[in-house]
Amino acid sequence: MASLAQAKENSTFAKIGMILLYLALIIVAVFQLYPLVWLFMFSLKSNSEVFGLSPFALPQEPQWENYVRVWTQGNIDMYFFNSVWITLVSVLLTVLLASFVTFAITRMRWKFSKLVLALFMIGYMVPIHSAIIPLFDFYLKLDLIDNPLSIILSYVAFNLPLTIMILLGFYYTLPREVEEAAVVDGCSVHRIFFQITLPMTTPVLATTAIINMIYNWNEFIFVNTFISSDHLKTLTVGIQNFIGQYLTDWGAIGATLVISIIPILIAFLVLSDKIVEGIAAGSVKG
């Protein structure tokens, strides 16, 4: 009898324990999510609401014109499109060049493949800040300062190591029979790469593309250092400018920040599994 009562007690404890665990997890979730909800709320407020009412109050009458205003008058549309095309071009170049290298390293036979791989892997450890002064000087000499090319080249170079790292894992597990058969049939290397290998790597290409997209979209220090003309700036640096001018206009600042994070959130909703996979795979990136 006593043991039965004890077992019952134990299961009650287990239940309470479980509830406490869930509670802890939910508190963390609220801590992670609520600041963004709060941001969205103040992006829809007027200044009188921000300064006159509680920060936790819902917007009385959603001020969607905050968004229209920053998009049309604050140059946010311009920064946004710069971010879009610079990100797209950099991602395409990085993924393509990294695929070439990974193919050559895993599929082709040559003397220095290990050394070349090591160069990419070590390149992964180098902090951007330790390269930025000579890079600035280099682009200055090539007349590429205040030219989007300096940004794109830097993005590609600094993201190649991580991209190759993620691709490598996939290439090693990929069966080679089809490629070998193609060689026997007299296929050229280019046809094998473009028509057989590259299409087979689509899942991992998606992972690397989304991870690259996030890094490039959010990048700050290269644009802040190499670009001086306003019409060439991307969102991260552009919103800095904008906020400098509209310091007390909370609604405008909120709307700008929401616009800058929306593409990432959409990508996340559609491709969250790929993002999680890419982050777990490239976890050595600091």
């Binding site: 665990l21 869930y22 997890l25 963390v28 992670q32 600041p35 709060w38 941001l39 921000v50 300064f51 920060p55 936790f56 990294a98 070439f100 290298v101 193919f103 050559a104 390293i105 599929r107 082709m108 036979r109 070349v116 390149g123 450890m125 180098v126 902090p127 800040h129 330790s130 390269a131 002064i133 000579p134 890079l135 600035f136 280099f138 080249l153 830097s154 170079a157 190649l160 790292m165 894992g169 060689v183 050229s188 996030i214 959010n218 700050f220 220090i221 969102l235 991260t236 919103i239 800095q240 909370w250 600042i253 920040l257 969250s272 993002i275 999680v276 777990a280 795979a281 976890s283 050595v284």
Partner: protein, 292 residues
């Protein structure tokens, strides 16, 4: 097979573009950083060789050591916070319904730019209209502090934003490692009457020790490189109270155009990054738990 797949022209065509990019934009610059560190140079005019003067100045520069101290403090906080992430991951990797959704919610801040995060947290910490102080006032705290303007609090305030940004990243890594553990081992321990806490502490954590060591490198190296968030949130202020190595370097180089001294700081940053990475790599040399 051999002939086609060892065609030197194709190999050069496939590897050289990427190789030239990293040699010209990563390896060249880091070597030049060390070299420029030996120069008196304003970035535009002529360079004058001054030997180790910049490095001697660095050793004696109290502002530099103050920012280095802040970087190391952030590294220590970040390393300690790994314990929290590990506990959350241990709970999450148990039999929890909705763990997939929770994990994704935790990750969202990590996907945002440091600039957006910095701007958002400036608003959260706003002394008059911010979320935090309103909450504190509702709870009865009179005169809550002006977080980012208070030299004694600013570093901690920034650290909370860093915690918010990176939590999901580390949780995802730990979760993946914990889910990769063999089920049979844990079942056996359960049959032997081990409690969940014993299983977590004595079996699961030791088994993912390799991954934990890797995350320690990530946390330390990442902290030593912090820049964007602090540069935007406080600019290193008030009065240097939140200055870190990278922001101090950036100010010297691109703020007052002392490229020689900036390079010396940047080279120092590279050296400690490599030493820390190498040291912890050495500690994890025999382990191979993390896939990359």
């Amino acid at each position: 097979m051999n002939k086609v797949m060892s065609n030197k022209v194709v190999i050069a065509l496939y590897t050289l573009p990427a190789l030239i990019l990293i040699l010209a934009l990563i390896y060249g610059p880091i070597l030049l950083t060390g070299y420029y560190g030996l120069m008196d140079w304003n970035g535009i005019g002529a360079m004058t060789f001054i030997g180790l003067d910049n490095y001697v100045e660095l050793v004696q520069d109290s502002k530099f050591w103050e920012s280095a101290l802040h970087s190391f403090l952030l590294a220590i906080f970040s390393t300690l916070s790994l314990a929290i992430y590990l506990i959350i991951s241990l709970i999450l990797a148990g039999k929890i319904k909705g763990s997939n959704l929770l994990r994704k919610i935790y990750l969202i801040p990590m996907l945002l730019s440091s600039v957006a995060i910095a701007q958002l947290w400036i608003k959260i910490y706003d002394p008059n209209n911010g979320m935090l102080n309103s909450l504190l006032q509702t709870l009865g705290v009179e005169n809550p502090p002006a977080w980012l303007a208070d030299p004694n609090l600013v570093l901690y305030a920034i650290f909370v934003a860093i915690l918010w940004q990176y939590a999901g990243f580390y949780i995802i890594i730990y979760y993946a490692a914990l889910k990769g553990l063999p089920e049979s081992l844990i079942e056996a321990a359960k049959i032997d009457g081990a409690t969940p806490i014993q299983i977590a502490y004595k079996i699961k954590v030791p088994l993912i020790a390799g991954v934990i060591k890797v995350t320690i490198v990530l946390a330390i190296v990442g902290s030593l490189k912090y820049f964007d968030l602090i540069y935007v949130m406080t600019g290193g202020g008030p009065n240097g109270a939140s200055e870190v190595i990278a922001s101090y370097m950036y100010k010297k180089a691109f703020g007052i155009y002392d490229f020689g001294y900036g390079s010396a700081i940047a080279f120092f940053l590279l050296l400690i990054t490599l030493v820390v990475t190498w040291l912890t790599r050495k500690l994890t040399a025999s382990e191979d738990e993390i896939q990359y």
